[in-house]
Symmetry: C2
Subunit: 389 residues, 2 copies
């Protein structure tokens, strides 16, 4: 019996042995030739993973929140209008960050937790406020709500807004084609579908975003986030001519290089398809077990994440039983419904076996807290999807 | 013959096998019981390593520059006076950061590169400007100038300034007794004498600093740096009650816990003494080889770092020969003299053998570029110190 449990939370996720090996390698100088090559290559690969050949990648030590902070600090000047398409906890956070740098923020809120605002409402707000910038949370990690990034980005661009996608729980898992979908900036953190332990903020900024940055009239309000400092570093390493601003997180960047290589070996289209197939299988199992989900409809639901409500009479103690059965899941996060639901992350190297193991453990846990269902009904529903697709 | 070369630069330094093993462990959830315990313990240990029982530790994903940014963003409000005791490149950086958050910065500059300002000059500036905050760069990584932190801190406190020590190339190597020396905030980065791969900003703030933060009239200008967000997290993990703001860099914090444990096993006094002994040995060797150093006098010189000028007729190509002989050193960094000197880092787990290996490689390199000296004279000078002390 393996002692280690399967980690199925919305990040950190399971990492490959090759990525973990890179993490533990003896650290070299940040100007060592092999590190320069890996860092330069990682920047090139980020462009491919974000599907944004014209983008400028940034790899900076910090969390996903730093990535959001970097986007806001560099693109917002005091008094700018910004529009937040609010689908939950992390949209609230983006609004707070934008305000910190002086933006006048308008929020288009979802009608309820688990829902996303209608495109018409977003269009009305764009028309009224003509924001310089609009943010979309691709996947709200707190609720598993998935936004229609393609549709929203097209709308935003139509009204001249810079489109910023918080892809923290999405990039390299959810389908996102940054350049084709006209997204001006997309960002994520390393520990999600990118498949690297936490500690890296990752961004790819398109030409309009870089242009807006270059045309600023005021200095960036945040020193550490300032692209004025980081752009020469990223350009330098990509040209294999290292320059110094802060010491890059050598081991994390090695791990990033390995993981991006593995992602590109699979291919982005195959990767998107795998995430969709596994998500469908898990969601079918959850439904077969009689559990409702936080997202109100399938087209409002993330591919990387599932958020089922506990059934009647069950609370978060079931997570302890599921853990004993071998799988670690996460509790609720959205303040309004925190105690009523749980979260299952399924992104990165996740496989069909992981999905079956997870469903199996959920069934075991539910049975132990006295919830009644036909044993195996969840597994059968998942397997039907896995075999068919 | 071992393929790996000895890394003797001012960070990243050599890390212990135990630290690297922690880096490569399979990442757990940031709310897993074993991670909570390690994070909580790391916070407690930081207090001991900074010798500041009353301090509030912060461990945040980012570089050393982020640590400087956090100090400035939380303690400065627009219009505050700040005083920078300028001993080089990183003092210039601190001045720029303070200005970013609205400080009116006065700088007391060293009379020349390699020197530090006289205490009397600093006192005159304190008397004239009555700054809210004063910064000291303990070790200027660009020049190996070491500041008289104890004397400067006493002066700063006498005039009511919050004393902030940039200890990036110093903490856990140079003697610093934060509480006893009345330092209000000290900061560093993981990849220096703390002995963890790059990616963590580390700070310990004393009661007066936390008080000044709590009494702010304006919000912190930088979202990611804001202690309002981080303080509940640090207090939470230390109470073994995790709370969420951003996903903590799990593997780096595991490695931090291991390294802080190793540091405390040695004991701070023994550690300071070892760094002093090894520094003296290396500096004696450099002098015996006829090389001058950037710092103008022994009492202006760092313990963790040595910065020799190239002798006449020698340039940075000698670093390639030294590397071939097995030891990696760093080139110059200070813009005014960049091409004229090089840098040797000796902190963390550095040993007497490492010092001898380094001197041996320097002698080999110098001989290969035609510099004339008596073979072994550097080694003998180092060994005389190592045997005596």
């Amino acid at each position: 019996m393996k002692g280690r449990k399967l980690l199925m939370i919305p990040g950190p996720i399971e990492f490959t042995p090759e990525v973990l090996r890179a993490m533990g390698m003896a650290t070299t100088s940040h100007v060592a030739p092999n590190f320069i090559e890996v860092f330069g290559q990682a920047l090139e690969r980020l462009r491919q993973v974000f599907l944004c050949p014209s983008g400028q990648p940034f790899v900076i030590a910090g969390s996903g929140t730093l990535a959001m902070d970097i986007a806001a600090a560099n693109l917002i000047e005091p008094g700018d209008n910004a529009l937040v398409v609010n689908t939950g906890y992390f949209s609230d956070r983006f609004a707070a960050i934008l305000e910190r740098y002086g933006a006048a923020v308008t929020q288009v809120r979802a009608p309820a937790v688990g829902d996303a605002p209608a495109l018409e409402e977003v269009e009305a707000a764009l028309k009224e406020h003509r924001p310089k910038l609009m943010t979309i949370t691709h996947v709200d990690t707190s609720t598993a709500v998935g936004a229609d990034v393609k549709g929203l980005a097209a709308l935003g661009r139509e009204y001249g807004a810079l489109v910023v996608v918080d892809g923290v729980c999405a990039v390299a898992g959810e389908e996102m084609r940054q350049e084709q979908w006209d997204i001006d900036l997309a960002l994520t953190a390393s520990q999600k579908a990118i498949g690297v332990p936490p500690g890296l903020a990752l961004l790819v900024a398109g030409p309009r975003a870089m242009d807006a940055f270059r045309k600023r009239k005021t200095p960036v309000g945040n020193y550490y986030a300032d692209w004025t400092k980081w752009l020469p570093i990223m350009e330098g390493y990509e040209a294999r001519q290292p320059r110094y601003f802060g010491t890059p997180p050598v081991n994390l960047i090695w791990a990033l290089g390995v993981s991006l290589g593995q992602i590109l070996d699979e291919g982005m289209d195959a990767r998107f398809a795998r995430h969709q197939r596994l998500s469908k299988a898990l969601k079918a199992a959850v439904t077969a077990l009689g559990l409702r989900q936080v997202p109100v409809a399938p087209d409002k639901t993330a591919t990387t994440l599932t958020a089922p409500y506990y059934p009647d009479g069950v609370d978060r103690t079931v997570l302890g039983h599921i853990k004993e059965a071998g799988v670690i899941l996460a509790g609720g996060l959205h303040p309004a419904i925190k105690a009523q639901y749980f979260r299952i992350g399924h992104m990165g190297v996740v496989s069909a076996s992981d999905i079956l193991a997870t469903v199996g453990a959920i069934e075991k846990g539910l049975s132990q807290v006295g919830y009644e269902f036909e044993a195996g009904v969840g597994l059968a529903a998942a397997q039907a999807v896995l075999i068919r697709q």
